[in-house]
Subunit: 250 residues, 2 copies
């Protein structure tokens, strides 16, 4: 996250990245060609905003070590609330949460990434909004409760989805079929979900209640984990289908 955010801000016209802090000197190297870096809280520079891009369980600790008062400190966590003002009485608090899946070696186009913002007052919110607008075309005012629900929704839409791809890949491998053949389908399935509500475009044997195909698939599935998942998801999708039918009949 830090690497991607740095890159986006570095390229933005109206934002100056004064310094990058991190405890591991080796990891600071990639930033050091472009800006100041430090691994010591004592050498932290003064700045308008401090963005904390660390794991959830060390955010509090990092925030409490920033040696300046009345500065805006924003974390980038999907699941944590604003810092508790009781614990951080001399700071101003915000959240700057880009909702995206980041990997170190894949470039991302920040422009299309929605940034969820929250702050303890209007002025601080505006400052975060300015930052967000410098790197992305989309920002949203999102409360902690909403952000937590987005984080949970993202587990389904991203983490579990990737696991579905992984099962597809495994089935291809077992049958000596290149996984590439599924790429177009994966891309199109995602594209459709951004054009229409996924609840309206469910396809496949489960929603059609196509018992014959479902039975064939269950016979094909040798991996018991995949079979268990197929059975559960098919059952849940069929529930939707029968709910829909009941509604239509009413």
């Amino acid at each position: 996250m830090a690497t991607h955010l740095f890159k986006a801000f570095f390229e933005a016209d109206n934002v100056l990245v004064t310094q990058v802090f991190g405890p591991d000197k080796a990891k600071l190297k990639i930033f050091s060609e472009k800006t100041q870096t430090t691994d010591s809280y004592d050498n932290l520079s003064e700045a308008d905003v401090y963005l904390i891009c660390v794991k959830d369980d060390v955010i509090e600790e990092v925030a409490s070590k920033i040696p300046f008062q009345h500065k805006l400190i924003a974390h980038t966590s999907g699941s944590l609330p604003l810092l508790n003002p009781k614990d951080h009485p001399t700071s101003r608090n915000g959240v700057f949460y880009p909702l995206q899946t980041f990997s170190k070696h894949t470039e991302v186009d920040f422009k299309s990434i929605p940034i969820c913002l929250e702050a303890d007052d209007k002025h601080n919110y505006q400052l975060l909004k300015t930052l967000a607008e410098a790197i992305s075309e989309k920002n949203y005012n999102i409360s902690t409760a909403q952000r937590k629900s987005l984080h949970l929704a993202a587990v389904f839409a991203c983490n579990f989805t990737n696991y579905m791809y992984r099962i597809g890949e495994e089935i291809c491998k077992e049958n000596h079929v290149p996984f590439d053949i599924l790429h177009a389908l994966i891309t199109e399935t995602a594209r459709k979900a951004t054009l229409d509500s996924p609840s309206k475009i469910q396809t496949g044997p489960a929603i059609r209640d196509d018992k014959k195909t479902i039975e064939t698939h269950l016979n094909q599935l040798e991996n018991s984990d995949f079979k268990e998942i197929y059975i559960l998801l098919t059952r849940k999708i069929r529930l939707l289908s029968s709910k829909r039918k009941n509604k239509e009949e009413m």
Copy 2:
């Protein structure tokens, strides 16, 4: 499927769509401005290839009603084998299976859709390959067994994936968050799966074995169906994670 295939072939330079057959006159209307149509087997035109784009359980019936001999008949099903030569002694048989999710009202770019081909001899295969190349950049020689496994893999990579999106959408709705915020994540998750193996890029609390986040999510989930799915998929992904650890330790 028929509509999309027609459109692609109609626009191709070296393919002539002689006629479209269908039992429902009203549904033939959209084709009738551009080619001959008929709802009667008696009026079927002679052609080099007959493409059957109907549900699996009526393919046999439609094929048996084609009143010409020694013509190449290809179905477009993901799960059925070549027509049985005993039942169709006077026809030549093939499969022309574009692996994609089609919906009536969404345009698709056929060029990127992989077409899985199978035929009862080399000459017939070559004829189907020529057809495939006229509309798509990708075609594969795929046996019935491989095609069946692709069809099953597609249930995970497309149907179940869309269901994951649907759950994400539902969670957003319940929490008054626009589902749009997840669009960039959905698109990027799909893109990453086409750049690297999904087995290598699994992210999220389950693979990290982040018990605290998993517990928070389970407390958030009010819908018992979604909870059951979260629990099962998390358990399965954690199994992968522990298998990986065991391997690394060895």
